[in-house]
Symmetry: C2
Subunit: 338 residues, 2 copies
């Protein structure tokens, strides 16, 4: 970290440091020739402005913190790539942290990022997160925060959402059109809004087609593969077997599928499956899993844009919620072959 500074250039050229500084920030008057001399000399000496001195005086870190629950699977990495793309172009540095689906770690991450004086945060909640006091405090202090996908309704911030309701509706309707009648729903974690929305879509699709949904068709579950396995075990033990299952997450669906296959059920002849989120492995398992694909990169880009707008906004800030759309990738796990 032994860098050339503006002082070095000033000495070399017998000019004042302030003049050198001006050469780089063209908001000041400076003779074009001297500017040129300085710029070429700077390049020759390999000058690079010290970002920490700039951050110190500008009172802005130009750092954005990202908090996601997990790294494994393609969803979050792709969102991050999308967000980085936009943030880098706007001159921001990105600090990525991952909570490992653990509430405690999540809060520690936020704290770490605050210590590093991030100008803003992009967050997706862990499925453990129930207590949102820390976030309320954050928001009320005026820290720009954008939540995406895993959000909490009580937090009044900008949000980037997927239209979970609509796509759960479509996914369910797809099963109904395929003539499946007894459709179960494996829900997501109770604390997340997306769980409620996907459930609502599931129910409304039934309502539209005048199909009843007894409570026994709704199985509380979670996003891990093991949760799907557990849910499937429970269903099989109950001896109340559905002819189709719509899971709130791909891994849940895959876990459940595994168990059903193991118990001799044919897919999709005996039980059909539809998942949610287009996990990398969805198209590679046997049979390939029908799944709702989300616009991952676009989610990241949108979150970044909203955050930058809020940070650089001078007027009154009004939280915005942007809802993006996706597509249903229909594969053989849900296609009746009759």
């Amino acid at each position: 970290m032994k860098h050339v500074t503006i002082k070095d250039i000033a000495k070399e050229l017998n000019l004042a440091v302030s003049t050198i500084s001006r050469a780089f920030n063209d908001k000041y008057d400076i003779r074009p020739e001297t500017k040129q001399t300085i710029l070429s000399k700077a390049k020759e000496m390999g000058y690079r402005p010290n970002p920490f001195a700039q951050k110190l005086i500008r009172q802005r870190s130009m750092n954005i913190g990202i908090v996601i629950p997990e790294f494994i699977g393609s969803f979050f990495p792709e969102v991050i790539i999308g967000a980085q793309e936009v943030l880098f172009k706007a001159g921001y540095q990105v600090l990525i942290t991952q909570s490992n689906e653990c509430y405690k770690t999540e809060i520690e991450n936020v704290e770490l990022l605050e210590q590093n004086m991030v100008d803003g945060l992009i967050i997706s909640l862990s499925h453990q997160t129930k207590n949102i006091d820390r976030y309320k405090e954050l928001v009320s202090r005026g820290t720009p925060v954008v939540f995406f996908n895993r959000v909490n309704d009580e937090l009044n911030t900008s949000k980037v959402l997927f239209d979970d309701y609509e796509w759960a509706f479509f996914a369910t309707e797809h099963l109904i059109y395929q003539n499946y009648k007894k459709i179960f729903h494996l829900t997501g974690p109770a604390n997340l809004s997306l769980t409620k929305n996907r459930l609502r879509g599931f129910l409304d699709a039934h309502k539209k087609h005048r199909l009843k949904v007894p409570d026994s068709h709704l199985i509380p579950s979670d996003f891990m593969l093991e949760d799907g396995e557990r849910a499937a075990m429970k269903i099989i033990e109950s001896e109340n077997i559905p002819d189709a299952i719509f899971a709130a997450g791909d891994l849940t669906a895959i876990g459940a599928m595994k168990i059903f296959k193991k118990h001799g059920y044919k897919i999709p002849e005996d039980v059909a499956f539809v998942g949610f989120s287009e996990h990398t492995i969805a198209q590679h398992i046997d049979p390939p899993l029908t799944s709702v694909a989300q616009p991952t990169f676009e989610i990241g880009r949108t979150a970044a844009k909203l955050l930058i707008a809020q940070i650089e906004n001078t007027g009154v800030f009004v939280p915005q919620t942007i809802t993006l759309s996706g597509q249903l990738n229909i594969r053989s796990s849900s296609m009746k072959l009759t």
Copy 2:
């Protein structure tokens, strides 16, 4: 970013700023009582040291840059988690960049990280990277760099490697023990050392068992799923069909498997498959793919430790190469059922 500073505390307590500073850096003499007063007052006021002021005066950024070729798939994310774990504990900030397997982006990332004055770098090369001049320059300037997995032999830095030779040997031998005789090898990208090592392991296993390997058994390929598909097409068209294939990467194996299945070959009866790297989906595809698992988290932790040692090292620095071991996960893609 309106933080409490040591000045505020000084004013509040009628003390000098230096005294406040001393309370936090216990290398100076300070009366225990005043220290206590300061510390409690600081906590009360919510004081947090400004990291940029510290970085500025300490002439060290406490930032570590990580450059990886891709985010998708579990290998690199897991390495990063391992590295972060160690680096965070040592007080370092981690800046993660991803080259998307593109040489140009990779170099831009390195440049970006340099501008941010990282104290050191952890790098895994893209499979496009052939020109390593920029890295040679980096190293010769004394910047601490640790490469892992995708390394280049000409760079004299610390490295964390997987014992590609040994595990390629074991993987091949596993096929031989299963009584496969005509084994093809889909190699990795030509510029990477690991490609040579895996090839060497493949050849030596044959040598040990006195089996010949004609050149036609070696198919140059790459790490993408599509590369595997292409390689498989080439093999099928040549009508010189192997009874087993050892691919240098899981995705390559999966792509090839897909094509062979599509053409009516039964796996593993007609053609057996072994991959490398234990991709997340390896165990979920049909049939589950035998693969060499690498100690991902440990690779990250080790790289981080080596880097910290080099950065904080005062004496003469000697580059170290640490080679880690793995395990072969045997699944049905390579088990003769006879």
